[in-house]
């Protein structure tokens, strides 16, 4: 505590006015000793009262102040000044814009991850003939030509816990023409031929881990593709805030957002084929699959048009998030199946701006 001794007596008369300025900044009690210490610090250190507040003598840095509270205070002041500078700059720029009027340079668009996304060469062009041809002849063409009606079988992994069971029931209420069956230790490869013979079009298996659903296998039945998703953030109906009543039996509409690449397109068609082709608009229910940065968010809402500019939506139904892990060509066959796409963490997760859906 050597700084207490020497300079105090000298500085006291000089820096009487300084504490007045510093008082607003002080948080601790104004003991005379402390005030003197502060004065002394001000003498030594930066000159915050000066208009160019952040100028420090070259050999001085904020990290050299040993007292934590003082250091913190100085840092806060530094931040405030920076913020003020930024605000002033903004205002100046805005004034310039207004002054220039039409001649002002266009507003700069901030960079977002979606802006900076690495261009994926498999992005679907709306007019691409090859894509159109493929979609006309793939496994979903039967559905999209209104030849088949979707019929979904929902089941779980072995011994499901209450949460998973309730989730399955709610899913069954959301997807029309869906049936829930208990698994009871049956092998999927044996279930699939039986489902096909009973005219099911989809098999959905919810996998459970530690009493919580965490995976989904979606298998399109007459030898269609099998998609394996990681499921997270499952919210059941009773956990929703401001939810409405139960979903009715009307066929909901489907919204598929942001499925741009070829892979995304095929996944989108998979989801679309879960629901019947004729949405009943009187039900005013809509199921949304929204893809953002490779996460697919599922929501189920009831909407009402207040006028043609405003629509109100109310969330019913469960909500969950999915992330695609693999897409396999035939029906479920993890050993001998041919995989169209598998998520390989080391290759695909290396760039933060590259997305596959």
């Amino acid at each position: 505590m050597d700084f207490v001794e020497v300079p105090v007596s000298e500085d006291v008369p000089v820096s009487e006015d300084v504490p007045a300025k510093k008082s607003k900044v002080k948080k601790e009690k104004k003991k005379k000793l402390k005030r003197e210490i502060k004065e002394e610090k001000e003498e030594q250190g930066p000159e915050p009262e000066q208009p160019s507040g952040t100028l420090l003598p070259p050999s001085y840095s904020l990290s050299e102040i040993k007292n934590k509270q003082r250091r913190h205070l100085m840092f806060m002041k530094l931040k405030q000044e920076k913020r003020k500078l930024k605000l002033d700059l903004r205002k100046k720029r805005r004034k310039e814009r207004e002054a220039l009027g039409d001649k002002a340079p266009p507003k700069e668009v901030p960079k977002t991850i979606e802006n900076q996304r690495v261009y994926d060469e498999t992005t679907v062009d709306p007019e691409d003939e090859e894509v159109a041809y493929d979609e006309g002849t793939d496994e979903f063409s039967a559905y999209f030509n209104k030849l088949t009606n979707p019929k979904v079988l929902i089941t779980t992994s072995d011994r499901p816990r209450g949460r998973t069971v309730r989730f399955c029931e709610q899913l069954a209420s959301v997807v029309p023409n869906a049936h829930v069956y208990y698994r009871r230790g049956l092998a999927l490869k044996r279930i699939i031929p039986q489902c096909v013979s009973r005219d099911f079009t989809y098999l959905m298996v919810i996998n459970e881990d530690r009493k919580v659903p965490n995976g989904m296998v979606l298998c399109h039945l007459p030898d269609g593709p099998t998609a394996h998703f990681k499921v997270s953030s499952v919210r059941l109906r009773k956990e929703m805030k401001r939810r409405g009543k139960e979903p009715t039996e009307h066929h909901p509409e489907v919204i598929l957002n942001n499925f741009t690449t070829r892979l995304g397109h095929s996944i989108g068609r998979m989801f679309a084929a879960l629901f019947p082709q004729d949405p009943q608009f009187t039900g005013r229910q809509v199921a949304t699959f929204h893809n953002q940065r490779d996460f697919i968010f599922f929501r189920f809402h009831r909407y009402i048009f207040k006028n043609e500019k405003k629509v109100g939506i109310q969330e019913l139904g469960p909500r969950f998030t999915m992330k695609l892990r693999s897409l396999q060509k035939g029906t479920f066959d993890s050993k001998y199946g041919e995989y169209e796409w598998v998520h390989k963490r080391h290759e695909m997760d290396s760039s933060r701006r590259k997305f596959h859906l």
Binding site: N257, T288, H290, R293, F295, F297, N307, T321
Partner: protein
Amino acid sequence: MQHDDVIWDLIGPKQFCSYKVKTKTGHFCRNEYNITGTCNRQSCPLANSQYATIREEKGQCFLYMKVIERAAFPARMWEKVKLSKNYEKALQEIDENLIYWPFYIRHKCKQRFTKITQYLIRIRKLTLKRQRKLVPLSRKVERREKRREEKALIAAQLDNAIEKELLERLKQGTYGDIYNFPVHAFDKAMEKQDEDSETEEEEDQEGEEEDEEAGKREFVEGDEFEESDLSDFEDMNNLQASGDEDEESEEEEEEESEEEMEEEIEEEKKAPAKSKGKTPLKGPVRKKRAYVEIEYEQETEPASKNKAS
């Protein structure tokens, strides 16, 4: 020299043996040649110079035998005999090999052999059934994914996106004639957008409606504002109460749609019937118009539903 008793004294019940495992209920022997697995005078492979065991390797059972003559040659101490895969034949082989041996060891060998064959059968059966594959989760990856999911959720702005999509669909006319909103605002909305061939048709329809209403505009305008306010309240009411009132409001909207085609005056009068919850607020306003008579045409409701489908 091989003095079994001395050895047993040294490693026996109260002494230390590195293969011994002491538990609350008894002593176990971890020696791989032990036939019963317990720490006993008769089943200790160290304290018995004449000893035999059954061990299995990759589904094949072998009989191991140790005799005192080979006690000086540790490398050749254990004689390994391969047993046949047939259960009965193997038992006979054990008997042949352990002929004249003490009963205890013979008996225990056969017991052990039986147990081993049983568990081998079970392994074979289980491999045919479904195998559960355990996939390890990396905590770092899971945490990263969770964080990315949260950020993606914020970036997605789901409600806005859904609302925009629904309004787009309304504008493109996918809903057909279910919703008919006041024409002026609709016109404005249409003018704001670029016109496609599809929208030109809609404009034609609106043109017709405008002609119908042209003569009646004088009465209508002042009230229409209230009507739209009321419709907002009605919709708020509907949203809050949801359920039954939704359906009622649908019917009412459809009725409204019919009547818009006919006469707009009647619409306003329907207002008192709709916003039941709001009667106290709207009482005096309504009473001004209450004297005009209303005529509903409920038979045409199914027609409007057909339009929708």
